[in-house]
């Protein structure tokens, strides 16, 4: 690490991993409920578990992005962070809002709108918190002599993500319009501006880990994020097929969301090619594993599995079934979880000065968790396809179908155990690194 103030990223990374583990616990509660063992129904009913599971994911990924930004932006701007104290304050506020929201969910304090369940008063705190964050990294960039493309793309992604949170805070009387603008937040985040953040972080990691010329990497970064917006903005239409919006969304959404995998294919080819061409053999091999893995798995999960059910003639049957859960799990894992874990793997040795990336623990963490997630996706796929045929095509009763597919949730839970083992090894490795040390500061 180059500047002392970059160490603030550690707080965000530690928070991310703690919330990730918590997210997995809620996932198990739901897996068992689907299997027929809804034993916690009286304390944590399914809707509370689900809301916690999803919002924890969003929160810990945002925390990971913030940590990554606090680490990357000073380096790309070549000056220390504008204010480290403000960053710590912003971190504390984020944690407090997160904890209140999580406890609130258990008592039914929520806004039952998929993905945006955080109650309105807390929404305002989230906005203030994110503004503090943007202000801090924005000032860091402004006060510097130079600011790189990688840094700009990252900053643009984060600012756009903050702005796009706002349409989700408007109250609508009609469910149709409500849903329409809810996707402005959700879709334009994960299939739009978050990909900008992903591209920025990935470009940074590839520059550091492969030693390839910045100009080459950043040129391709523009092309890939260009494809993201070319397909992803109008690709929002694949959420508008069946919510009451006009019929032309079937065509617009179908065509453009079918192009969305191109951006992810670009991301995968980009990571793989740069890693292969890179002359520099960076000792932190495991960080490169996660980075390249992120490119590849995001193509499989978000690109390929998304394409599998995005065309209207397929989606008519699969919309609102476990097929969506199949795609969702691997898409988030590939695109965003692996990215944050890659960033943590790269930054930890830099911040602490300890080189704990060579042992078997980080490597096994990578393989075990990935095999686990592939298994989980397979279980969701089998359950989802069976559900579509039995419930949608043949017209069997919902509960009879759910009983018939309970066995696939046993498979899901087994695979989830593998994933959990991998994640715990990653966390163990993270703990072994200890906290950032001043001895690690050097000009890189």
């Amino acid at each position: 690490m180059k500047f002392r103030s970059q160490r603030v990223a550690y707080l965000f990374f530690a928070t991310s991993l703690a919330l990730f583990v918590l997210q997995i616990i809620f996932g198990f509660i739901m897996g068992f409920a689907h299997m027929g063992y809804d034993v916690l129904h009286e304390i944590i009913p399914f809707n509370a578990a689900r809301t916690s599971h999803i919002n924890l994911l969003v929160l810990w990924l945002l925390s990971g992005f913030m940590g990554a930004a606090y680490y990357i932006v000073p380096e790309e701007a070549d000056r220390k962070l504008y204010s480290e104290k403000l960053a710590v304050l912003q971190w504390a506020a984020l944690v407090i809002v997160g904890v209140i929201a999580l406890i609130g969910f258990q008592f039914g304090w929520w806004e039952g709108r998929k993905f945006l369940e955080i109650p309105r008063p807390l929404d305002y705190l989230v906005v203030i918190d994110v503004l503090l964050f943007i202000f801090n990294i924005g000032m860091t960039a402004l006060r510097s002599e130079r600011f790189t493309t990688t840094g700009s793309v990252l900053l643009l992604g984060l600012t756009a993500a903050a702005l796009l949170y706002l349409p989700g805070m408007i109250t609508f009387e009609s469910q149709v319009i409500d849903s329409y603008f809810r996707w402005w937040v959700v879709h334009l985040w994960v299939e739009g501006v978050w990909e900008l953040i992903m591209g920025g972080i990935m470009a940074y990691l590839l520059i550091k880990l492969t030693g390839i010329d910045r100009e080459v990497i950043e040129k391709w970064l523009y092309i890939i994020v260009g494809f993201t917006f070319l397909s992803g903005i109008l690709g929002t239409g694949h959420h508008y097929y069946y919510i009451g919006a006009p019929e032309y969304w079937l065509i617009v959404g179908g065509v453009f969301s079918a192009l969305e995998p191109l951006a992810f294919l670009g991301m995968a080819l980009y990571a793989v090619t740069m890693a292969r061409r890179g002359g520099m053999r960076h000792p932190n091999r495991i960080a490169l594993f996660w980075t390249v893995g992120c490119g590849v798995m995001s193509f499989v999960g978000a690109g390929f599995l998304g394409f599998a059910h995005t065309l209207p003639q397929v989606n008519l049957w699969t919309h609102g079934t476990l097929i969506t859960a199949m795609h969702g799990h691997m898409a988030f894992w590939g695109a965003y979880v692996m990215l944050v874990l890659g960033m943590i793997s790269y930054a930890m040795p830099q911040m602490t000065g300890r080189k704990l990336f060579d042992g078997w623990v980080p490597e096994w963490a990578f393989w075990t968790s990935n095999v686990g997630m592939i298994g989980m996706t397979g279980a969701f796929a089998v359950a989802g396809i069976a559900q579509v045929y039995m419930e949608r095509k043949i017209g069997m009763d919902f509960l009879a179908v759910q009983e018939a597919i309970e066995v696939h949730f046993a498979g899901l839970i087994l695979a989830a155990c593998l994933l959990t083992l991998g994640v715990l090894m990653f966390v163990w490795n993270f703990i072994q690194y200890g906290v950032p040390s001043d001895e690690a500061i050097r000009d890189s």
């Binding site: 709108r113 260009g226 509960l399």
Partner: protein
């Protein structure tokens, strides 16, 4: 090959171009939504129903318009499927209708709340959804030919709305409880009346809930059931 500045132009130009189209389509969608969603039927009751829907996080288990969680049934067409009367009985005590099955949280809804939730669901059912949810198209092509179609009079409305969810009559209906085609042969007026008044007190542990029928409805049902020989 593209230079870096051309690549940047591609990114910025593409983003501005497609954002503009997206905003124009959004304006068009909002401007033309009224006939598709029947805005004129968006009554106070429907809006209150939506508020309850959100306050209880129904989407945390159910889907509506295909959106939500995949733990509980799709509810876009639930009013068509079940009828208002059945939903209103169900919402008072969800588990009573599906004993031993996947559980739903029991909410303490007032009569007004239940009416509003149903109004909301009915409004949702009227939306032009471009054909979602689709009719099953692999359904075995069986035509139910009724053997005794003429032997009984038309069932009371309550029977068609609620009872058929679990009981079959002339080959149509649920299979949770027994088919009722010849129930009049097996029970007397008195037995049926006692049973419908409070099934669990007659047979503890039965899957059939106490439906809190009014005296008039109960008598109507009993008289009709007695004709099924």
């Amino acid at each position: 090959m593209l230079s870096k500045s051309q690549a940047r132009l591609f990114f910025i130009g593409g983003t501005i171009f497609f954002s503009t189209i997206f905003i124009l389509l959004t304006v068009d969608t909002v401007a033309n939504i009224d006939p598709r969603q029947h805005t004129e039927n968006l009554t106070k009751s429907v809006i209150h129903g939506k508020q309850i829907w959100e306050a209880e996080n129904c989407m945390g288990c159910h889907t509506i318009l295909g959106e939500g969680a995949y733990y509980a049934p799709e509810l876009t067409k639930v009013v068509d499927r079940r009828g208002k009367e059945w939903i209103s009985v169900f919402l008072r005590d969800p588990e009573a209708m599906f004993p031993g099955q996947r559980r739903m949280v029991k909410y303490d809804f007032s009569d007004q709340d239940i009416e509003d939730v149903i109004a909301f669901l009915a409004w949702i059912g009227e939306i032009d959804t471009n054909g979602f949810p689709p009719e099953p198209d692999l359904m075995p092509a069986t035509t139910i030919t009724s053997v005794a179609a003429t032997s009984a009079s038309e069932p009371p409305a309550y029977f068609n709305n609620v009872c058929v969810a679990c009981h079959a009559f002339q080959g149509n209906g649920g299979n949770v409880g027994p088919a009722l085609d010849s129930v009049g042969q097996r029970y007397t007026r008195n037995e049926l009346d006692l049973w419908l008044a409070d099934p669990p007190s007659v047979k503890p542990g039965t899957a059939m809930p106490n439906l809190n029928l009014s005296d008039a409805t109960r008598t109507e049902l009993v008289e009709w059931l007695l004709t099924l020989k």
